[in-house]
Amino acid sequence: MTLPIKSFSFHLILQQVGEVGLLFGRTTINIFRKPRETKIFIQQLEEVGVRSLLVVSLTAAFGGLVFALQTYIGFHRYIGVGSEAYGGPIISLGLTKELIPILVGLMVAGRVGSAMAAEIGTMKITEQIDALYSLGADPIRYLVAPRTLACFIMVPVLTLYGDIIGIVCAYFFNVGMGVNRIVYLRNTLLYLELWDVLGGLIKAGIFGIVIAIIGSWQGLKTEGGAEGVGRATTRAVVISSIIILILNFFLSKVMPERLGI
């Protein structure tokens, strides 16, 4: 009796992967097609980028601080007093390559991905999606493409902003703890490479696409009333967060440690 359940689940997963793949393909084609929905794209840049600044600032600041704290304790305890200044490159590497892209990805998934699912889901249940079709507007071109492009651009921008906030906060924490600022800065600048930052930004761009596609997909799939919108919103956040965490590991594994290696 377990076989039908297993095959049903497998079938369902395949179907959903297919739906997401198809949506991604159609969105990519529509991003390059003219006429573009420039007005909506600019609105989305503001929605994804500018309105996420506060939450990204707080997350990056405290992410940087806690990472700096643990690194400081590690060096202080296991290597010895005075060695804490060598934590600078480790903190910067960890923040730019892993912590900030993930934190920004998860924050934007929670803030923007859920809003996309809720907005498009409400449009679906109030027949606004059908109205778009009836008025000659393809919802993928009108709704999904500008959101995806905006996320693809703004999540890396937010990540770069978060990198700066995190690194600066970590620096002030270390200086506040009496670490030699010259040695700390020199080590950081000596060992942190441009590729470390770029690698994090590439990941962030991919996370941006995941957030927009999953949020839009859940919105377009919404059925029922307010309950359906609630379910779509929750699923959008949960699915995109899980995909971000899984993708992050594989991207870190696949991406070269240094450019040219």
């Binding site: 409400t122 109030t126 606004q128 059908d130 079709y133 009836s134 000659g136 507007a137 393809d138």
Partner: protein, 248 residues
């Protein structure tokens, strides 16, 4: 001309349309009546290609929309205007942006012409000085009329009305009936009107079709339907609880 042939549609176990056959002539107003949940709106969405049938075909001016691609459907949809049951105005756009939405896509107009056309269309449905309001600032009846203005703004050849008089007062409902008749007389627009309102049905229709149990059980002029000996039709048009229709 619209020809609907042997149209079938099920949602899970629920067989909504079970072999619909209808021919709608150019310039004609056909009213489809039937109980709530009988599949009238589903039929309307099939005509516009928003839902694909399980079986059957819908031929619009010689093109089978059931076998058309999305791009072909987009071209065919230019012929249509649809008034939604709950208006379906875009929440994030102003009234003017809602009304000009189809115009911007279907007609090549300058911003000034666009603005003028929006004003004129709103005036046609009895609305003035509301261009900058958002949909949430409108009453239900106003939303419906803005939805109608949006649908007729780009002068479609075929108008589909989903419950045009529901949710508005009898005087406004009659004004909308007059508008449906005026559009037919002045622009020779073909119309498909879905309604429960028999006053509206008698007033606007050239022919009335009744949908029951997923099938068209009667088609004829308003006079022919009034005189029909079909008990289902008689029960519905007289609004009686007693009769062959038990599901209510």
């Amino acid at each position: 001309m619209i020809r609907i042939n042997d149209l079938h549609k099920s949602f899970g176990q629920n067989k909504v349309l079970q072999g619909i056959n209808l021919h709608i002539q150019n310039g004609e107003t056909l009213t489809i009546i039937g109980q709530s949940g009988s599949g009238k709106s589903v039929l309307l969405k099939h005509i516009l290609g928003l839902i694909r049938p399980d079986r059957g075909s819908i031929i619009v001016d010689g093109v089978d929309i059931c076998g058309s691609s999305e791009a072909e459907l987009n071209n065919i949809r230019r012929k249509f205007g649809l008034l939604f049951q709950a208006a379906a105005l875009f929440d994030s756009l102003t009234v003017a942006q809602n009304v000009s939405f189809g115009l911007e896509r279907y007609r090549d107009l300058s911003p000034k012409e666009l603005q003028k056309r929006v004003k004129e269309t709103l005036a046609m449905v009895g609305l003035r000085e509301i261009e900058q309001l958002m949909p949430h600032e409108l009453s239900g009846g106003m939303k419906k009329r803005v939805g109608l203005a949006r649908a007729i703004a780009y002068e479609p050849e075929i108008m589909l009305y989903d419950e045009p008089s529901t949710g508005i007062d009898p005087i406004r409902a009659d004004a909308i009936n007059e508008l449906i008749i005026k559009m037919k007389q002045e622009f020779r627009i073909t119309s498909v009107v879905i309604t429960h309102d028999m006053i509206s049905a008698y007033k606007v229709a050239d022919r009335i079709a009744m949908l029951y149990n997923g099938k068209i059980v009667a088609v004829g002029t308003p006079e022919e339907l009034r005189k029909s000996d079909n008990q289902i039709v008689q029960q519905f048009i007289h609004g009686r609880a007693e009769g062959p229709i038990k599901e209510w």
